[in-house]
Symmetry: C2
Subunit: 187 residues, 2 copies
DNA sequence: GTCTATAATAAGATAGAC
DNA sequence: GTCTATCTTATTATAGAC
């Protein structure tokens, strides 16, 4: 892993732990074991480095989600697999947490990757819901787009509740709850 | 409004807009029109002032939510009223956003009010869900606690999706989706 | 490419006048 | 109670040596 890569990886970790506002170039450099010169040689500054880090994180999240949602099985099984996949719940979502960062939201360039990821996720979930409806798994009256937004929101909100409680319990309850609602709507 | 009050109100606004890490004492003082001396006379420092601000915000949120969830009407009507109440969605939840703040989560004292609010909210929602079940509005097989967690998570996650998209649309879809799931599970 | 030195500005808190 | 210095450390970036 070269220096630019180490800088990006350190930034990804720190953005996840402390967000954009809470992450200083100094902290990034210390974690990467690099000096100021390296960072300003490879990137124009903090925001440029953050952009590279965010893009990499978003790309990874998308691959993981797509693999789970495209796996074999019924629609409900695939949604369950996605919602119940192994997560470090109390660390929160590395992309979702950035939506609370004022400097990320104020920058169209930094916000764009988040927008694209969640837009893609909602579309993909809507496809899976629609497949479930055509197989008779879910109530045909449900709006796939709205249901997909609910599933994605349950996940993101589950992280919020879990971090407030310092416990994975509320996250697991929220996931259990939405899966039960989906399953009970199968007519 | 005296100086201590103005400091608390300025802090509440800034915590909502920029979070704890992103809010400096200087910014608070400028917004409140006060000097350093005032702040350190009334509060021991940034975290003490933030604690007062968070407590006030939490108290207000709880009053608002309780009024809506205790209003007349069916369980579904009350949950709908709570989820669809007028909100400045793109500003996010003033309490939920703090769960992404590393310094808030690292401090048991600052995290406690968040924990208490969301714990209370889930319990209150669970009561309303249980009432709905006893009236035949919702499927009696649903777990009230899990369903309540899903409703609260949909709200918090809706903010995340909306801010990523810079649009209230995903929030509204998530709310519509969870209400449709609740209504379709009425057997 | 990477390093250290330097610099201007801000964060967070203290001291002491009034 | 409130104000204006003052202080220490961090932030973000630039300069120039190697």
């Amino acid at each position: 892993m070269d220096t630019a890569d180490r800088l990006i990886e350190s930034t990804r970790e720190l953005l996840w732990e402390r967000g954009y506002v809470g992450t200083s170039p100094k902290a990034i450099l210390q974690r990467a074991g690099a000096g100021q010169g390296s960072m300003y040689h490879h990137f124009s500054g903090k925001s440029d480095l953050a952009l590279a880090a965010v893009r990499r994180t978003v790309e990874q999240m998308r691959m993981t989600a797509d693999a789970l949602l495209s796996a074999p099985g019924t629609a409900l099984e695939r949604i369950t697999g996605y919602l119940r996949r192994e997560r470090d719940v109390l660390r929160g979502c590395p992309v979702g947490r950035l939506t609370m960062d004022p400097d990320i939201i104020a920058s169209p360039e930094l916000r764009a990757p988040l927008d694209e990821l969640f837009d893609w996720l909602r579309r993909r979930l809507a496809e899976v819901v629609a497949e479930g409806q055509s197989r008779g798994e879910f109530n045909a009256a449900l709006d796939p787009a709205a249901t997909a937004a609910t599933i994605a929101a349950t996940l993101q909100g589950g992280y919020v509740l879990a971090r407030a409680a310092d416990s994975v319990r509320p996250f697991e309850q929220a996931v259990t709850g939405v899966l039960a609602l989906l399953a009970s709507a199968n007519h």
